[in-house]
């Protein structure tokens, strides 16, 4: 636990090291350190001032699109292996427990057993699933799911997409196509598109967020695997530069291991 009674060069160096080790990135760290220098006077506790600075970066307002849209369409995207499918399982569990009817769209038609994996989550949570199997056109599956939700009066559609590196332009084009086709069913959909980011990711996480935002207009971030030792510090740069809120964090592999993002808890965990 960091504890200093005043701000001097040694203190600043220790704080700088802690923040860099959290994957915050040198640019963001330098901004935080200079803010700390200007705000901290002799009698402040440097750690309390630091926490305030960090919280300010993360707190950002967003619209609750779920409240006024039926069906509410949520698209989940990100690079390979970050925890998208598992997070969808957790989200559908939460929605079903809150009394909502949920449709999962199996739009990862590429990776081995991706559809089987999502099917297990729909069985576990009571969500229904729309799938056309391996190698189907993801856009067709998405359209199918949205049409089904509209006609059956469902509350929520969650779209699982294949993991893809943002450097692969054909795969990023595929995401755009999925959205174009969804809009034929519901022009305002997807109402939210959330990027799932592994909290062990380093500086490449910012590049990922930028590229996905250019492609499909991200409205939120989910940080997974925070039950490990990684701190997810790259979130600061993403929230600050792209003005996207962190909506949820993943804290394990079980269906209940999802928490709504709380800036205070996140900052406390980072500093500890």
């Amino acid at each position: 636990i960091l504890k200093f009674d005043k701000l001097n060069d040694d203190t600043l160096e220790e704080i700088e090291e802690l923040l860099i080790l959290s994957d915050m990135g040198i640019d963001t760290v330098e901004e935080v350190i200079s803010k700390l220098r200007e705000r901290c006077n002799g009698k402040d506790d440097p750690i309390e001032v630091l926490k305030e600075i960090l919280k300010e970066i993360l707190v950002i307002s967003y619209e609750d699109k779920e409240k006024n849209n039926k069906p509410y369409v949520l698209s989940i995207v990100g690079v390979n292996g970050t925890g998208k499918t598992t997070t969808i399982g957790k989200l559908s569990n939460k929605e079903v427990k809150e009394g909502k009817s949920v449709v999962l769209a199996a739009c990862d038609t590429f990776r081995a057993a991706a559809v089987d994996q999502l099917k297990i989550w729909s069985d576990r949570t009571g969500a229904s699933i729309i799938s056309q199997g391996q190698d189907a056109d993801p856009a067709a599956v998405a359209f199918d799911a949205v049409s089904h939700a509209k006609s059956k009066n469902k509350d929520v559609v969650i779209i699982d997409t294949a993991g893809r590196l943002h450097t692969k332009s054909n795969l990023m084009e595929e995401l755009k196509k999925i959205n174009r086709v969804i809009k034929k069913g519901i022009p305002e959909a997807p109402h939210d598109t959330w990027l799932v980011l592994d909290s062990t990711t380093g500086q490449n996480g910012l590049i990922q967020a930028k590229k996905f935002k250019e492609t499909v207009d991200l409205t939120g971030i989910i940080l997974t695997k925070l039950d490990g030792t990684a701190k997810g510090g790259i979130a600061f740069a993403i929230v600050k530069e792209l003005e996207i809120p962190v909506r949820y964090i993943g804290l394990g592999e079980g269906v209940d291991d999802l928490k709504e993002f709380n800036a205070e808890d996140f900052v406390n965990a980072l500093i500890s």
Binding site: I20, G81, T82, Q203
Partner: protein
């Protein structure tokens, strides 16, 4: 000699005969920032820079470079040395040889197991894949489906108990006359004691020739924590670094090499079955330095 005379004249002209702390200050800062941007662990960066400074300070400046340029050239050479100067092959001594594949969740283990099986089969081996991940939904199906592309059989045993599964696989390999067994394990956190104990138990039973930790190329500062722990508990024989077909700089490789000194044996360059390649340290050095 005329060369020496010219060199001495050059030194006087340039006035920078020896590398001093001052005249490489900019290069040091530039390299430090570049390595941090590349996700090299902060503590590794500090040690690495200090090691180089110790080596380089007081050295004669070569007439064809400025001290800054010479410093960066030395950094590049040292990077290559740490990354591992030459390719290290799989060491498959036993009959059958055994390869255990381990790592954090989502790093690319299952895909890499199938890729390894494909590579070994192409090189004349008769591999057996073992589906020892009983936790992740459809993990066994995933390995079975990708293994079809490698045309390698998958042993699934009772699909419930990893210990029983690996024991059964050893017997199956004898029966089938497989000469290599590749064990796919569930992703797990290095801080999950129970799951790390499971790996230790599997290693004790299978006595592997190789224990390869699979690491995602986009991993940041935390990689040293997980790599160090996995190495301490299992005595890794090497690493596979995946998703290098992205644009992550891959500084994680310098960190894990520096901390564990275990070799990177393969890199993943695509999701396809043939997407596993040998690791080239000199190419990686350029990518990390940026």
């Amino acid at each position: 000699s005329i060369q020496n005379k010219l060199n001495r004249a050059f030194k006087v002209l340039s006035g920078k005969g020896r590398i001093s702390e001052n005249n490489v200050k900019d290069a040091v800062k530039q390299v430090k920032l570049s390595l941090l941007e590349a996700d090299v662990n902060y503590k590794v960066v500090k040690e690495f820079i200090n090691d180089i400074k110790t080596e380089v300070l007081g050295e004669k400046v070569l007439s064809s470079f400025s001290p800054d340029q010479q410093f960066i050239k030395i950094v590049n050479e040292e990077l290559i040395k740490i990354l591992g100067e030459k390719k290290v092959d799989l060491s498959l001594q036993n009959r059958p040889a055994k390869i255990m594949v381990v790592g954090l969740q989502g790093s690319g283990k299952t895909t890499s197991c199938a890729k390894l099986a494909y590579l070994l089969k192409k090189n004349g081996k008769n591999p057996l894949l073992v589906a020892a991940d009983v936790y992740r939904p459809a993990a066994i199906d995933q390995l079975i489906q990708i293994s079809k592309k490698a045309d390698v059989p998958v042993f699934t045993g009772d699909k419930k108990n990893p210990i029983k599964i690996v024991e059964g696989a050893l017997k199956e390999a004898v029966k089938n006359i497989n000469d290599v067994i590749i064990f796919d394990t569930a992703g797990r956190l290095h801080v999950d004691e129970k799951m790390m104990d499971e790996l230790k138990k599997i290693a004790k039973i299978t006595k592997p020739d190789e224990i390869l930790m699979v690491i995602d190329a986009m991993t940041g500062q935390d990689a040293v924590n997980s790599a160090k722990k996995f190495n301490e508990l299992l005595e890794l024989s090497g690493f596979i670094v995946t998703k290098l077909d992205g644009d992550a700089r891959g500084g994680v490789i310098l960190s894990i090499r520096y901390i564990t000194e275990k070799p990177v044996k393969f890199v993943g360059l695509s999701e396809k079955i043939d997407g596993l390649e040998a690791f080239y340290p000199d190419r990686m050095a350029g990518r990390i330095l940026g």
